[in-house]
């Protein structure tokens, strides 16, 4: 624990970098994933091809994915965010799509029959009802980005992976331990926080769960 005590500010900085990377990934995956998921919910035949494509992207090993992007986007956080956002689509859209398509058809028919237009149906009905699943997707994205994000240190994206890589190279076990601990704390915190939001969204719809 000596490393952590002596270099607390460095660890905090890397921690915040990692958090920032994760938030950026969540932001960009929502930007793409929410409309894409909506499109898939409306156009059934698109689901198969798009989901397979996302599945294929997901199987690319992360280190090679980062390296492949270097010629296009150089080193740093940009290729890291792009690769992690690409991975995130599968996790996010799968959940969001389940949330959207699991809404009781009678609820949507009632909304249509009452004269809510597409936009009103989305904001007043579909979004709140699919929100728990969307948040579950966001949670998966957060956790996987925090995990895979450590490898992004290899292409100069910073973050807590820096401690792990440096620790391995310099054989500094204390540094490795500190890095691993910080990643774990970040993961747990993200998991609990988003899980809390999920439960609140669920509670509105289903009431108390035993």
């Amino acid at each position: 624990m000596n490393y952590l005590v002596n270099n607390f500010d460095v660890v905090v900085e890397l921690f915040l970098q990692h958090l920032q990377l994760t938030l950026a990934v969540i932001f960009f995956s929502l930007l793409i994933g929410i409309p894409l998921g909506l499109l898939l919910a409306r156009i059934r035949w698109l689901r198969g091809p798009v989901m397979s494509l996302l599945g294929i992207i997901y199987t690319i090993p992360s280190l090679s994915f980062f390296v492949l992007l270097i010629p296009l986007f150089g080193l740093g956080t940009r290729p890291a965010i792009i690769a992690l956002t690409a991975y995130a689509q599968l996790l996010l859209i799968r959940n969001w799509l389940v949330g959207l398509t699991n809404i009781e058809p009678a609820v949507l028919e009632a909304a249509r029959g009452m004269g809510l237009n597409g936009w009103q149906r989305f904001w007043q009905i579909e979004f709140p009802l699919a929100l728990p699943m969307l948040l579950a997707g966001i949670r998966l994205v957060a956790l996987s980005s925090i995990g895979i994000g450590t490898i992004a240190a290899f292409i100069n994206a910073g973050g807590l992976g820096v401690l792990l890589f440096q620790g391995v190279i310099t054989n500094n076990y204390d540094k490795i331990f500190t890095g691993a601990l910080a990643v774990t704390i970040l993961s747990f915190a993200a998991n609990y926080f988003i899980r809390y939001l999920e439960q609140r969204a669920e509670f509105r719809i289903y009431g108390k769960r035993i």
Binding site: E104, A106, V107, L108, E109, A110, A111, R112, G113, M114, G115, L116, N117, Q120, Q124, I125, P128, L129, R204, I205, Y206, G207
Partner: protein
């Protein structure tokens, strides 16, 4: 409030057709890609403002399809539909829908909204003031017989029958002239269904809305309808009052469906008054001379003939006196009259 007053004063000199609940179908057909046969086949029918018309027919005959074309959840492939004198495509689709209440079997209450929010969705869309919405909420809860303490509850905290009542209140929220109901009571238990049917009859006579009600339950149709549309394989087979269907069935299909040979049903569709009227028409002896025994059962002019039979059987007499609400003797009615009524109705076929 003020806009209502303006429109009601306008009513007196120039009745705006859009305020009426008349629905007219003109040669309406609908095909689905899944079949070469039409789901609705050239249906023309006029539904008078204020009627409670039941669409009756076997499963898959096109009842729901016909209903959903009124609020444009389905578009007809040919033919035209007028609502309140306006062709339904002459106004924006969501404007049309907000003027037509819609109730479905699965209710479809919004699970994440309280009862209050559920009911006030359309008034909110229409930009009603908070005060007006709250007054309306109170009035609607009273109408459907639920306490206002239910307003902050969520749909999951209500029984099936209560949910369907809320569904009805939601459909009535913006005071539409027309109510479309697709098997609204099919999923509730028998006891609750009877209550709901009774409440709908009350509500219809109180509010004077045009109601188009789909069911495949013959009993329900006969209980509720002022007129019945019988459909089969997309076609309209007969359109008439319940009594007309029973006494003058168009064909064997109707006969079988409505049980035209079911004497008790036939009796239940006629009342004591119809016997008294028939007598006047035929200068038939109004037999008021018979002395009325004390303690004997008394018939009201509104009693249906089916209950007359059971009263006769219970009293052990051949005839019973009829008295009006002021206790005046109008005559007597007995087995002979019932036989006469049944025979005259059979001969009119």
């Amino acid at each position: 409030m003020s806009s209502e007053m303006i429109s009601s004063t306008a009513d007196t000199n120039n009745v705006p057709v859009s305020e009426s609940g008349e629905i007219v179908f003109e040669r309406v057909s609908k095909f689905f890609t899944t079949s070469t046969l039409p789901a609705v086949d050239q249906i023309s029918v006029k539904i008078t403002d204020g009627d409670l018309v039941v669409i009756l027919g076997p499963s898959g005959c096109g009842k729901t399809t016909l209903l959903k074309m009124v609020n444009r959840l389905y578009e007809p492939d040919s033919g035209k539909i007028w609502v309140g004198g306006k062709e339904i495509h002459t106004l924006p689709v969501n404007e049309l829908r907000r003027k037509i209440g819609y109730v479905i079997q699965q209710v479809g209450l919004f699970p994440h909204m309280t009862i209050q929010k559920n009911i006030s969705v359309v008034p909110h869309l229409l930009g009603w003031e908070e005060k007006r919405i709250n007054d309306r909420l109170e009035m609607l809860m009273q109408l459907i017989g639920l306490p206002v303490s239910y307003l902050p509850r969520y749909p999951r905290q209500l029984s099936g029958g209560e949910q369907q009542r809320v569904g009805l209140a939601r459909a009535l929220a913006a005071d539409p002239e027309i109510l479309l109901m697709d098997e609204p009571f099919a999923a509730v238990d028998a006891i609750n269904r009877e209550c709901l049917q009774g409440e709908l009859i009350d509500l219809h006579s109180k509010l004077n809305k045009t109601i188009l009600f789909v069911t495949h339950d013959v009993e329900e149709a006969f209980r509720l309808a002022t007129k019945i549309i019988v459909m089969r394989a997309g076609k309209l087979v007969q359109y008439g009052t319940p009594l007309e269907l029973v006494t003058q069935p168009e064909n064997e299909f109707i006969e079988e469906l409505v049980g035209s040979n079911n004497i008790l049903r036939k009796l239940s569709l006629m009342n004591v008054n119809s016997i008294l009227k028939a007598r006047e028409n035929h200068f038939y002896d109004a037999d008021k001379s018979q002395p009325v025994e004390k303690n004997s059962a008394v018939l009201n002019p509104e009693d249906d003939l089916r209950s007359v039979v059971s009263l006769l059987l219970r009293s052990g007499r051949d005839s019973l006196p009829v008295k009006d609400s002021e206790n005046r003797l109008l005559g007597t009615v007995g087995y002979a009259d019932l036989r006469e009524m049944l025979i005259s109705n059979l001969s009119s076929e």
